[in-house]
Structures are given as structure tokens and as C-alpha cells.
Amino acid sequence: MKTLDELKKIREDAKKNLELRNTDKTIRVVVGMATCGISAGARPVLQTFVEEVSKRKLHNVQVVQTGCIGMCTYEPIVEITMPNEEKVTYVFMDTDKVKKVVSDHLVNGRVVVDYTIGALK
């Protein structure tokens, strides 16, 4: 170890992993991971959320899983709750959609209306 900057660089890398253990986050991403969700592809959806959130250093976002939400035909379902805002429910999610939701909704605060349950005909 030669410089303080070298140490700080190692710290930034190592922090990504520990970020998960912080439970004081205000934005929640909830992925339905019951049998219905998993068979419709919820696991890659969850994993992509974890990776994207870490890549973009969104320290305030907690990605958690939950059981069956009750609308199995629309799985994978993802719910996003921001402080003081209505819950947004996304349906038929896949990894590409996740990336767009992260950049538009979580980073820029714009709900991706096309993917929400309200857009279903």
C-alpha cells in the first residue's frame, strides 16, 4: 500500500458489496419471486436490478424479493416505491426492461408508463 488514494479505490470497490447490508434506504424495488414469478423469469430480473443499481451507485435503492403478489399471469412483476409517491407496478418485466426502468425511473424519476400495469389493455 503506497498511497491513500490506492486505499480509497479499494474501499470504493469493496463498498459495492457491503451496500446490500444497509437497511436505511428509502427507495424500494420489490421483485415477485414466488413460483409463478420465478417460472416467468423473475430471477434474472432481480439479478439485473442488483447489478444495475450497483453499477449506477444508487445507494438509496434497496432491491428485495417478495412472494406471490396475486396476479400470476402478469409476472414477472416489479413494484417500485419512492418516498411520498404512489407505488408503481411494472408487469411482464425482462432484463432489457429493467435497464430502462433503472435509468428512467430510478435515476431520472420518470415512470416508464408503457411497462406499468395501467398500460395493459
Binding site: 498511497t3 458489496n17 414466488a34 442488483v50
Partner: protein, 596 residues
Amino acid sequence: MALYRSHVLVCGGTGCNSSKSDMIRQRFEEKIIEMGLDKEVQVISTGCFGLCEEGPIVVIYPEGAFYSRMKIDRVDRIVEEHLFKGRIVKEYLYEESLDKDKLKSLNEVDFYSKQKRVALRNCGVINPEDISEYIARDGYLALGKVLTEMTPVDVIQVMKDSGLRGRGGGGFHTGLKWGFAAPNQADQKYVICNADEGDPGAFMDRSVLEGDPHAVLEAMAIAGYAIGATKGFIYVRAEYPIAVKRLEIAIGQAKEMGLLGKNIFDSGFDFEIEIRLGAGAFVCGEETALIASIEGQRGMPRNKPPFPAIKGLFGKPTIINNVETLANVPQIIINGADWFRSFGSEKSPGTKVFALGGKINNTGLVEIPMGTTLREVIYDIGGGCPNGKAFKAVQTGGPSGGCITADYIDTKIDFDTLTDLGSMMGSGGMIVMDEDNCMVDIARFFLEFTVEESCGKCTPCREGTKRMLEILDLITQGKATLEDLDKLEKLAINIKNTALCGLGQTAPNPVLSTMRYFREEYEAHVLEKRCPAGVCKSLLSYYITEDCRGCTKCAKQCPVNCIEGSVKKLHIIDQDKCIKCGACMEACPFDSIIIK
């Protein structure tokens, strides 16, 4: 680095480990692989979470779900339900962490909400065997700051300003201690970490070493820089195998990354640390005895002065700091002296770790700001005495301390208030006693410990404590007179004034303080030949009441055949033969045997 969506933290402290947490961790790992989740879920063994009563403890993130009293056969269901399907298994959760059906954050649970974790900040949070997790929590940043931006004089000044006092017992100012050693010229100086934690029921230092070993290493290097030492020793008891193993791993990792060794942070500063195992003698926690033990001699204290800061290990200037004291150091360097003074009391800044034990619901490890009241510790954090029994007293400072009674339960805890009450902070053991504890018996217990552990070098401790114990034996057997009580008190004061080392001088404390607050209990033993709490066996007798149905169970259990009586007739205990083992009382299905 691979990213996981979930972390399973399994307590790997000695407490949980003794109830098979290592096998629980192993089962988690197996089951997670079985379910194909090993790329998504990471299993980590941590240090102590503090709530040992509820162990073994498993915490799963990101939810922060706190599973208590874990068993191996619960693992599969948690993996299948919680980790695979996202359904927290509520019935296995720590009851207090649920608010109606909602999961509370750990900080909101009563046990944790009043705590302030500085020395324990990483315990139960990081993997102590992975240096990168320590670095992620600002680890070695303080060492980097010290070596690249501060002079040794600056470092000592910050320590002085912080007002940090030694957490091992005496409460001496750490900054002053470093300041004494720094100006002494010598070809070699030493930093010693005193991890010879010997008080019965105390496990603060063990938990820090097991949960956050790097914090101690970092602090030792900082201390080395401050006083101009290049070599450090950690004197740790061999009875702490997990702590020793984690220290060894930590030293290896720190060396590999160049955070120990030659030319750290390119500053020209070298520092090496070696571990020395103690064989478990209580006296080796005394600094001069500890030094003798590292030197390969018999662990015996010597006269001070010269103090170790002038003439210590191998005759060279040496500073000795306790584990918990050291664990505070990196935090003080990073956050500043004012931050440290922002909690705790005026003369005792910061926090203190206590090991709560005895008659208390939440046995475990707690860290509180100095100035917290005993009531908050015992009732709000500790959950009070079990089975609704009345709180009687608390012993602080282990065998060197004294008891504090219910009258003083609103005392704000710090170094000085405890000393004023005739007890002391000590290293932080806190043994709670309820109405069923006999105070004479408690004093006898602690004195028995010091008699066994006396190194024998000075007469007051070697002979005096032994004579005190003999008098206490007479009292508990109902054979003492009031004269003996006076003799006991006089002897205690003499030992206090004349023993060589701190341990001898404080050995009579448990007797003096129980005599001060519970004189009537001593007198009941002497004058009425009665033990008010019903503990001292010689003063008790077992009797069979009229409720006896003559089932003969007690007579069959009695190991000395002293119960007479035939079937369906009232039984009688022969008091001359009875050895007061209590086996008959346990055997009686009608609760008709009583103690008087």
C-alpha cells in the same frame, strides 16, 4: 467482484459457535448450492451480534431479517422460502423485531435502539476474515491519514483531546500514556495489546477480536507511529481460539496488502505485529505481569515506577492498551476528538462495552454511551430479571469491583460515579443479581476466584485473601461471630492498602461493598444463623410438610438414605444425616418439601 442479491450473515462468535452456528452456516452453504442460488446469495460468518441470549443468530439482507435461536433443521425452510421465494419465515424471526406483521429495522429493536456502537461498529456487520469488508467500512483510512498527513505529536494531541480513557479497568487517559512513551529515546519501543481478558463473565475484548480484528491491528500501528515503536505484540489468552485464528488471518491479510510491514503508505514507517498466547492466568492482565510473561518469565507483577512507558518490555519503553481502547482509536482519528466527546459524559467521553450476564433476560454484549443509567441498561436493554424476580444488585468490574444496589439504579454510569459507589468500571463485566442471590455467597465466589488466581508474590494478597475466604466460609456455615465480621473488614482494608499490584489492591472490593450495602445479610448469617436468600446450604434445612402423600419417591432419590417413612404415611428427613443436595425436593410431585 461478484455481486450478490442477498447476504446471509451467520454469527461466528464464541457464544453462537458453541451452539453450533458453524454447522448452521455449513448447512446454509450446502442448501444454497443445492437450490442453485450460490451465484446470487452469499453466506458470511461474522462476529458477535451482541444478543447472545437469542443465539445462534442469522441475519439476512437486504431485508435485515433477524432470525434468532436458529437450529440446523430450520435452515432448509429459510432457504426455500426466504431466499428462493422471497417469503420471510416470520415464525423463526426474533419476536421483538416484528411490529404486528411488519419487519422492524434492527436499530428499532429495544435491545439495540439505546446502544451506540463505536468499538463494536463492525461486529456482526462485516466478515472479519475478509480485509476488504473492513476497508469498505473506512478501515485503515485512519492509519493512512496518520502516516501521510499527521506528525506523531498531532496524533497524541488528538488522543489527549478526545479524553479516551483505558477501557481495561483503570481508566487512565490513553493520550497521556502515549505522551509519556513518545519522548523516551530508545533503539526499540513496543506497543502491546492487552487481550488477557480474565474477569469471570466478561467477553467484550473477545468479541471485538472475533468480530473486528483489523480495528485492533490498525490502532496498534497508529500507536506505534505516535510513540515511535516498530513492533507490536498482542497478548491474548489461548482460551480464545476463534479470536486467535481471526487475528492470525487478519495479520496475514494486512501484511499482504502492505498495511503492516515495511514502509507503510510510503512513509518510511515500519510496523510488525506478533501474537503471544497467554495460558490464562488472571494476574497476566496486570501490565507488568503481562510484560514478564511475554519475556518468557513467570507472570508476576513488579513495583511501579518505573512505568512501562519508561522501562517496559525487554527494558524498553512500552505502551500497553486494552483491546476495546484500541478499537476506539481509528474512529477518533477519522472523526476527530470533538466527535468522540459528543457522546458520553464530561470526564468519561465515548462509549463503553458491557457484557451483561447473570439474572438478566437479554444476556449479551451491549455498547452504550457513558452516562447511560444502570436502569436503562438493565431494564430497557437487558429486559430486566427473568421470571419477574426483583432486581437486587449488579456487580460491575468483576472480582475487582463491587456491587451496586437497587437504590442506586439511576446512577449514570461512568468511571468516576462507579468508583464513588465503591465499585469500579473494570473491564465491563456486569453481573446482575436478583432476590434469590445471597450477597455473602457472591462475595465468597469472587474471593475464591482471586485466591485461586493470586500469583503469590506479595503477602497481603497471598495470605490475606486466603484468610478472608476462611472467614467468609465460617459466615456461610453459620459458625462466625460478630468479631469475625470486624476482623474481615479490617483485613480487607489492610490488603487494599498494602498489596503490590492493582489486582491485589482491589481483591477485597467485593467483600467491602457487599458489607457496606448488605450488612444486615451478613448479620443474619452470624446472629440468626440464617441465609435470607436461601442459598447457603449449611444454614438451610429441608422439611417435609403435611402435604406429603407418602409416595416414597423422595426416599428413593435420597443419596444418603436419610428419609424415613412407609407408603401412604408422612415421611420425615433425618436432619443429622441430610447433605442438603435438594434431590428430594426435585423428586416430590406434590411440592411438599420446603427449605427453611
